[in-house]
Amino acid sequence: MTIPFFGKSIFVPSDIIAAWILSIVLGAILFIYVMNKRKWPLIWEYMRTTNHRKIGTMYILFGVIFFLRAGTDALLIRLQLAQPHAAFWVFQQEKYNELFTTHGTMMIFFVAMPLLIGLMNVAVPLQIGARDLAFPFLNAVSFWLFLAGAILFNMSFFFNSAPNAGWTGYAPLSTDTFTPSVGNDYFVFSLQVSGLGTIFTAINMIVTIVRHRAPGMRLTRMPLFSWATLITSFLILIAFSVLSMGLYLLMFDRMFGTGFFSGDTGNPVYWQHLFWIFGHPEVYILALPAFGIFSDIISTFSKKRIFGYPAMVLSIILIGFLGFMVWAHHMFTVGLGPMANTFFAITTMLIAVPTGIKVFNWLFTMRGGVVKITTPMLFALGFIPTFVMGGVTGVMLSVAAANFQYHDTHFVVAHFHYTIIGSTILGIFAGIYFWYPKVTGKVLDEKLGKWHFWLFIIGFHLTFLPMHVTGLQGMPRRVYTYQWGDDLFALNLTSTIGAFLMGSSMLFVGWNLYKTHKHGKKVGNDPWDGRTLEWTVQSPSQENTFEPMPIVKEMDPFWYAKVSGEKLRTTNNTRPAPISVNTILPFCIAFSLSIMSLGMIYTWYLLAVLGGASAFLLFIVRSLTDERKAYDLKEGHSNE
């Protein structure tokens, strides 16, 4: 569609116009709702909060919103691929390339990451007996940086310049020579901003877990989700730093004429190294927390402690460690030579060992237990076979010479959806159903939850199982169509139908949220007969938790206290809690950085300088209004 704009006429694709109209309508409805219900104070409260549960809730809320957006991308992809030579709406060629780029990038960075970090925010402090994260202010900064990055990324689409080089942004395609539009600049800056937030979260989690555990909560008694969070945070520290520098170099290539990844003397494969040194650990950053969630859930609903706890912890550590030594298995076909290919094939196979240990330990946790199939448990039970299927195709992919055939085909697409949806997304759903009472005080409806699960899991296998075959049949990734002669029609149509089943399962989530909100009853502290400390605090958790502070003498302390019929011993002599404040500064910092990013993206350097300067000014304000100052003077350490 052509639209007149200041005397010029600009071509705008109809999907973007549709998106604008939809957003404006939804925005107006939301605005009217907020006006009528007088929710402004609530919004203002959340904008200024530093409380871990509230920030966690916001992470989850926005994660779900972006999940719907990226999920819509997936459905559009499937519609375009439903039959040979299809021409669905506008999604061919460049439009299709933008579609899978935004789908991938958003699912990884703005869906899976925030949802996991949201659950960590909600659950980890409660699990270990911390009164908040170690740095509440920084936690708010992390959240707003994530949101700023995500919104920045979404803006690109609304201005008809979505990134189009794939979520892997392979150079030289991603350099300005081959993709001159601002789309990939959006990619660079939005990931940079949100990545910074992720790094801060990792630091926060580590300090919280290392220094804020309840008395007696030794590391060897810590719930596995907290363990997974700890190891994941270490992975983030390294992986996201490397990504950040990769993007930094790519920014120079795109904007300032350097040639690290392109040109005569540049090295495109170096980008791949940097990207996968980030990218492969990232896979474990997504998977490990999910493993932790499942460990806690399986143990809770089998009424048994986790089988082989030390092995479970060790395998998390081992997976995290090996995760850094396998990145080049994404690059078997770039000609690193036989030595490197063999080395990375072997290290990749090795990861199967600790993963296998975990799977069998989960299974044996159920043995001899009383397995209660609630919705969270159902997701855990769906996870085991699904993830193992992704795991075995992972081992198949590690066979380097066979990988020459699988690489960059739909076989790989099937594999990583099996692992990431199989672990991360199922884990997130399980975690949301499990900890929902700690966020809202109500348990989600079980019947609708089960509908959600079955539709989702059946749709999932229907979508991705056929892709193994289409891949071997010769269908590369990232193609927008295929031919009748390719013999791919039936399988692709099956995938499309499956994708819509998965999509429809989300309607049940919406219905469930509504129903629970309207008719759900308040539950007590411990709706699931839980084992760990989070079930001792009020639902929803209050701002002053653990007063008095429980003393931990064994793992799963709450469970054993219940079994022996005694109350957990408590103490009032504890380390000082982190200081919570209400402040709009984190929001402003993130806002300034997005203004700076916009300035950089469109090379309006004045705007960039303004944004940057305002960010620095806010740092200064932050330093001068340190929340500890008030606390400090109150404590009576006055200035002598």
Partner: protein, 232 residues
């Protein structure tokens, strides 16, 4: 051994779809044959793992499900079991070792290399130039063809791959795995003993707007036809 493997893969994939051949699993060259063997072999090994997990899980969930009887019982705590845990540490290692041997052997043979490493006299050398969004093949006598590759049967064919712009990937599923085509570095990939026939070739690395359309045809012909075609 190999027959069994072929039967396994036919069996499994036959359930998934009836009637059509899966090009990668219906190899038309020695190179692709080795790869198909690895695929089937690893698939068979992994099916063992998968079946064990499925059986254990079904059994445990069924046997230990919550019923009216056990609803209020508190199960005995089991911290772990050294023997069992060692079993599922060592068995996978053994399984992977079995898999690693052929993996290393074939990978060593087939990995793409840089030019100087390969000099085989009786091989046929073809320059492959990838460009957004077409393929150019240059033969020994200087003949060029676009999007159509013609090679003789039962020979070793050495492809010299080079891109003029972004990264592409050279792939003929029936004849062998892919090799990336890089702008800054020439890579060499060898396909041994292709059988007569016409096969699809495609770009397998996302390379821009018309990546989807960057396809070519590979015709494997008899030696005479090849010679004739070269001089045409």
């Amino acid at each position: 051994m190999k027959n069994i493997l072929i039967r396994i893969r036919l069996l499994v994939f036959a359930c998934l779809l009836t009637g059509c051949d899966i090009s990668v699993l219906d190899p038309q060259s020695k190179t692709a044959d080795n790869q198909a063997f690895l695929i089937s072999f690893s698939f068979a090994l992994m099916m063992i793992v998968l079946i064990i997990v499925f059986l254990l899980m079904t059994r445990f969930v069924w046997k230990y499900r919550e019923t009216e009887h056990n609803k209020n019982t508190i199960p005995k705590d089991i911290k772990g079991n050294k023997k069992l845990e060692l079993t599922w540490t060592i068995l996978p290692i053994l399984l992977l070792t079995v898999l690693a041997v052929p993996t290393i052997a074939v990978t060593y043979n087939q990995s793409a290399t840089t030019p100087k490493a390969t000099t085989q006299d009786d091989a046929i050398h073809i320059d492959v130039t990838a460009q957004q969004f077409f393929w150019t093949f240059t033969y020994g006598n200087g003949k060029e063809s676009t999007n159509e590759l013609v090679i003789p049967e039962n020979k070793s064919i050495v492809f010299h791959l080079k891109s003029t712009d972004v990264i592409h990937s050279f792939w003929i599923p029936s004849l062998g795995g892919k090799t990336d085509v890089l702008p800054e570095k020439e890579l060499v990939y060898k396909i041994d003993n292709p059988k007569k026939g016409t096969y699809d070739g495609k770009c397998a690395e996302f390379c821009g707007v018309n990546h989807t359309k960057m396809r070519f045809t590979a015709r494997v012909v008899s030696e005479e036809t090849y010679q004739k075609w070269l001089t045409k």
